[in-house]
Every structure is written in C-alpha cells, then in structure tokens.
C-alpha cells in the first residue's frame, strides 16, 4: 500500500515510468540525483505529513529505504 503511494509521488515528481519502480529500485537508476532526492523527500514529507531527519537522508538509496524512513518517521 505504502509502496503504491510512494511510487505515485515518485512518478509525479520525477516523471519516470511507474512500472520501473519496485521496492529494491535504486533512486539513481530513476534519474534521481542528490537535488532530485531532496525534492522527492520534500514531496513525500508533504504527502505523509511527517519529517525525515537530515542525518538519515544520505542513507536513502532505494525506494525501500524511503519506505523504511517513512515508517520510522511516522511512528
């Protein structure tokens, strides 16, 4: 469920193909660079109403990393 929502926001933000987005997909392979990642995290924070701490951002490499951080931040 959360993967679907995250994938939807990724598509809206970076305009990649939805079918390319799996849990294990690396953000870099979707053409998301460091600035793109910050923009994406901003959109996710807005959508989920949470805040992901700055210090965990460098460890976000895959879609699954995003989901984990969202779950931690939402607890």
């Amino acid at each position: 469920m959360i993967l679907e929502k995250v994938a939807e926001i990724i598509v809206e933000t970076v305009h990649c193909n939805a079918e390319d987005i799996k849990a294990e997909t690396e953000l870099e392979s979707l053409g998301i660079d460091s600035l793109g990642a910050i923009t994406l995290i901003f959109e996710l924070e807005e959508a989920f109403g949470i805040e992901i701490p700055n210090e965990v951002i460098p460890s976000i490499k895959t879609v699954n990393d995003i989901i984990e951080k969202l779950e931690v931040a939402g607890q």
Partner: protein
Amino acid sequence: MITGLGAISASGLNIPAFWDAMKAGHTAIKPLKPAVNDIKISVAAQLPDFVPESYFTHDELTLLDRYSQLAVIAASEAINDAGISNNEKILTNTAIIVGSGCCAKHTDEETCVKLFKQQRSRVHPLTIPKGMPSAAANMVSMHLGTKGPAFVISSACASGAHAIIQGASMVQSGLVDIAVAGASDAPFTYGLLKSWDALRVVSNDTCRPFCKDRSGMVLGEGAGMLVLESEDHAAKRGARIYAELAGSGMTSDATHITRPDITGISKAMNLALNHANLHSTEIDYINAHGTGTELNDIIETRAIHQVFGDHASKLIVSSTKSMHGHALGAASALEIIATTLAIYNGIVPPTANFTVADEQCDLDYIPNKAREQGISIAMSNSFAFGGLNAVIALKKYS
C-alpha cells in the same frame, strides 16, 4: 558588432513578431490580466499567449523563475539567429550577462505567500537555486551550453544597457570571443504591482511619451538578448552584422533617487558620443528613455537640446515604450534591439499613442507611424531610478 538578436515581450514572442509590431506602431498595452481588485493599475504590456510548457519541460520549470524563462528564450533565439548554437568551440568562450531590475521576484513572493499568508512551515527545496538573483545567468548558460563568465547585473531600468556595455567591453578587451548580453524582467507579481501603485507613476490609460495628456508609465515584461563579437571574429565565421556598437556612456546623477538630473543624463550622452568618436551632428535617431512621465520626458527633451544644440531640430526621436511597455531592465535591451533593427532595416519605429505634444517637448517624436528613413547612427537612452544612466551609440555597418 551585433550579430544575433532575441526578444520576447508584449510586442511578440520572438524577433519577427517584435519587429512587425514596432514597424506597425502597434501598442501591446491592454487591460491588466488578471485584474486585481485592490490594485489601481489597470493596464499593462504583458506577454500574449505565453505558455511556458511549450518551451520547457516540467522538470526544467521547477528551476526556472519566470524571469529566467524569458532570459533563456531570448538568449536561445539570439544564438540561433547568430548561427552559433551547438557550436561547442565558440560557446566555450562565450559570456552570458543578464541585466534585471527585479530578478526572481515571482519565486520570492510565492515563498512569502506560503510562509506568511498560508502559514506553512516549509518551502520548496529548490527555492534558493530558483530564486537567487543570479538564476537567469545560470539558467541561460546551462541551457545554451556556454562556458565563459556568466552573471547578472542589476541597475533598475538601465540593467539591459549596462549588461550590453559590459558584454561589449569584455569582447573588446579580449576577455571573451562572444558575449550574449541583454536583460529580462517579469514584474507582474502582486507585491510589485502594489509597490508600483504606491509610487503613483503608472498610467491607467496608456503610455503616451512626450504628449500633453500623458498620464505616466505602463509596466511591461519581457527579455531582450544580443550576440556581441568583434568585427574580426564575425568576419572569420561569415556572420551577418546587424550594426556596430560604436560607443557608450555611463554616469550616476548622485542627486535624487527618482528624479532624473539633466547634468547626469547629458553627460552620459556626451560620453557616448566621445567614446564612439562621433560629433553630435552625426546622430540621426535617438531611441529615448521616454517613459511617459512628466519628470522624464521634459528633462530628457531638455538634455537632448543641451547636447545636440541646433542639431536637435533635425533629430528624430521616439519612445518604443509606448508599444512594448516599460519592461524595467528588459526595456533598455528591447530598445537597443529596436534601434539596431531600425538601422539595419532603414525603418524607424514611432512613438505610439501620440496625441498632442507637451509644449516643453518640442522634438520630432515620430508620432504613431514608423518612418522609412535610412539612418546611419543612432543612440539609445536608458535612465534608471537612482540616477543610473547608460547610453549606447550604434552605427550602421558598412
């Protein structure tokens, strides 16, 4: 030498449309859209049918303030016109100098609305790169692939003239092979409209420079960019030369923040003549600053008399702000383009919306109808708030 031109303004989204409007004496001043209830300003010179998405992708637009968009569009047209787009060797040593009176105000105001009006606690992460005053120079350089120096110059309504003078100086001194220089301004934000309202200099009718019944300036938006290179460089690559940038003069009044000073603006015109090794009697046409305000029009006319003496009665003078509006810093670049095209085509754009001349404005202002007249040497005047004056002399290339 001027070898490429690009313009986007209320008078058209490219150079052919712009020049058609100038030749036709067509004013682009219309009711302000959207009308805003608590703003007195009701007329403006706004871009007609401009759809940013038809020029840029969604991703590109996330980094492009409106003023950057206009600068990129005009600069792209200018380098295409000059035949240097995709020429990596040339673009490597090309400078970008963008003038702007108000820079990325759209981004600034959108941010303020989110924080202070909507009480949101966060702003978009790209707010800094999109909204920094130098953004247009970065964006033009990235979109065109130029790798020489790139920066923004801000001197209110003379920004374009200052940028073009700076570009020409860099070419002349050998710092760069080519400079793409001009200006961009997008002042139609709520805050800026309110601020111009407060200054009480904006007309609610139209812009009628030098006329008895003039009622003030009319705000415009747009960008104008020029490709500048040396005669040798242009000749080696077989470039078309529109005109020669023969000289320039710059002064500061050091008197009043908004009232122009005859000494400062006369000196700027004299400096431009001296710099270009021209005698005042050699000038055929002046594209005036001509804002349509009482303060400017009378002082500018007096200054022209002071500089040109008896020759003033033989000069032809027009204000193209009556057509493309006062696009602040960009207006000076658009006017230098109009002057360049007047020399190149032998057609001089008029002062549109002209009714009856003010008694104190007694020059030939080319009322309403363009004049087919070969001109060899012309001047473009730009006088900004703060008393910042920049005058450019242009010569027919032969």
